[in-house]
Amino acid sequence: MTEAVQRPIKSSEIDSKFKYEISKMHGGEKLMRCFQCGTCTSDCPIARFSDTYRPRQIIRMTQLGLKDRVLNSDTLWLCASCFTCTDRCPQDVEVASVIRVLRNLAAERGHVPQVFKEQCSSILESGYAYKIPELRLKKRETLGLPPLPKGNPESLGKTLRTVHFLKHVEKKGE
C-alpha cells in the first residue's frame, strides 16, 4: 500500500460518500472518530514485520474516500484479526471490524485470497473450513475416539444459498 500512497491522489478518485457508507455498516460505526494517533499501527504485530500493512493508513484512506485504493489493495488481507488495535484504540474505533467491513466490500468485487476461497469450498463440501481427511475419520476408532457427529449438509446448503456465501465459491478458478 505504501506504493499506492506515494502515487499522487487525484480528486477524481475520491469518493466522499465512502466514509458514510462504511459508518452505516455494523463494525464501521466509529470510523470517523479516528484522529490518527497511530496506536493501532504501533501495537500491531503484523505491522512490525510487514513493509506495507499499516492499520492507521487503511483507516485514513477510508476516511478520505480512497475507495478503490483501499478495496483493491492486497494489504487489506494482512490483518491477523488479533483485535489488539481494537482493544487499544483510545477513540474506541473497532479497527479490526472496520477492516472486516472493508474486506466484505472487497470480496463483493471478487478480491478474495485463494486460501479463503478454499475454506469456502471446504465448508460447502464438508461443512467445515478445514476438511477432515478421510483417513483421520477412519483412524478415530483405533485411537479410541467416538465417531464424529454427523453434519446436516442439506440444511447447511439451504442456509448458504440464502446468503452471499456461494458466490465466493463459484468465483473459484476464475
Binding site: H26, F49, A80, S81, F83, F116, G127, L143, T159
Partner: protein
C-alpha cells in the same frame, strides 16, 4: 455440568490428542460432553471477512442447535470460541440483525432465541468446575515445571465480547499453576502467534512466531502451554520451519493445556499422542509425576 460439545474442524483434523485429553479429563471433573449432531463450521475470521450475514448465519446455526439441546456450548478452539461468542453477543444485543438472521434460518426451521452461553474449555474449568476441584484432581503435580502460557488472541480479545476481559489469561495461568507448574511471565505473552497469516503471507507469519519464541526463550522456560490449536501448530511445527529459515533452534516443547492437566491427573499420554508433537516432549514426560 452438561455441555453441547463443539469440536470444530482443526482439532479432529490435526490435533485429535487435544480432543482425547478433554474426553479423558471431563468425566473425572463431572463435565458431561454431549455431541452436537448437525453442527457446522463456526465461521472463523476468514469467513467473517467475506460476508457478514454468511458469518452470522453459519455461527447462529450452531448456537440454535445448542439452544434446542438446552445446553451451553463448550468450544475447544480459540477461533470457534471467538466466532460463536461474538455472534451470540451481536444477536443478543442487536434485534435488527437478529431478525435478519432468523429470517435466513427460518428456511431450515431454526430460530435464535439467545438462550445459550459459549464457553471455552479453560473458562469452563475455571468458572464451572472451579480451581479447587481441579487442584484436588491433580495427583501427580508438575512441581517446578516452568511454563510460558500462550493464551492465544481470541481467548480475551476483543474486550467488547469478553466481559471479564483479562480473566481468560488469569484463569489459564491459575489453571496451569494448579497442575503444580509455574506460569512464567514474558514480554510478548498477549501477542499473536502469526498463525492467521498462513497462506496469506508465510514470511510475515514466521517473523511474528519467531518474535514470540524469542520472548519465551528469554523468560527461561521448559515448555509452552496453550489452549488454541492454531497457536499449537504455529509454535510447535513452526519451530522446525524457523530452524530452516532463520537457523535458530529453540527446542521448546509445546503442550496443549488439556494434555498437561491430563498428565497431572495421573493419566498417561498414549504413544500416538506423544508422537503428534513435532518438538519432542520427552523432558515433560520425564517430569510428569517425578515428585
Amino acid at each position: 455440568m452438561k455441555y453441547a460439545f463443539f469440536l470444530g474442524c482443526l482439532i479432529p483434523a490435526r490435533e485429535p490428542q487435544y480432543e482425547n485429553s478433554v474426553r479423558k479429563i471431563a468425566p473425572e471433573l463431572d463435565m458431561e460432553l454431549v455431541e452436537m449432531e448437525g453442527a457446522n463450521c463456526c465461521a472463523p475470521f476468514s469467513i467473517q471477512s467475506l460476508d457478514y450475514m454468511s458469518w452470522l448465519a453459519l455461527a447462529a446455526r450452531n448456537l440454535c442447535m445448542a439452544e434446542q439441546m438446552n445446553l451451553n456450548i463448550l468450544a475447544l478452539c480459540n477461533d470457534c470460541y471467538e466466532s460463536l461468542l461474538a455472534t451470540n453477543t451481536i444477536l443478543k444485543e442487536n434485534h435488527e440483525v437478529r431478525d435478519k438472521v432468523n429470517d435466513i434460518l427460518a428456511d431450515v426451521g431454526l430460530e435464535f432465541k439467545g438462550k445459550t452461553d459459549v464457553k471455552i474449555f479453560s473458562d469452563a474449568l475455571y468458572e464451572d468446575v472451579g480451581i479447587k476441584r481441579v487442584k484436588d484432581a491433580v495427583k501427580k503435580p508438575f512441581n517446578g515445571l516452568r511454563v510460558a502460557v500462550q493464551p492465544g488472541c481470541h481467548l480475551t480479545k476483543p474486550k467488547r465480547i469478553h466481559f471479564k476481559q483479562q480473566m481468560g489469561v488469569t484463569a489459564l495461568d491459575e489453571l496451569v499453576q494448579a497442575t503444580g507448574a509455574i506460569s512464567v511471565p514474558y514480554e510478548r505473552k498477549e501477542a499473536c502467534c502469526g498463525g492467521p497469516l498462513r497462506g496469506i503471507n508465510d514470511e510475515v507469519a514466521l517473523h511474528v512466531a519467531k518474535q514470540k519464541l524469542d520472548s519465551i526463550r528469554a523468560a527461561g522456560v521448559d515448555s509452552i502451554v496453550t489452549v488454541c490449536p492454531f497457536c499449537f501448530l504455529e509454535l510447535d511445527m513452526g519451530q522446525l520451519e524457523i530452524k530452516r529459515h532463520f537457523k535458530t533452534e529453540y527446542d521448546l516443547p509445546v503442550l496443549n493445556f488439556a494434555d498437561l492437566l491430563r498428565m497431572a491427573m495421573g493419566m498417561k499420554l498414549e504413544n500416538w499422542e506423544i508422537k503428534a508433537h513435532r518438538i519432542p516432549i520427552t523432558k515433560i514426560l520425564n517430569m510428569a509425576g517425578a515428585k
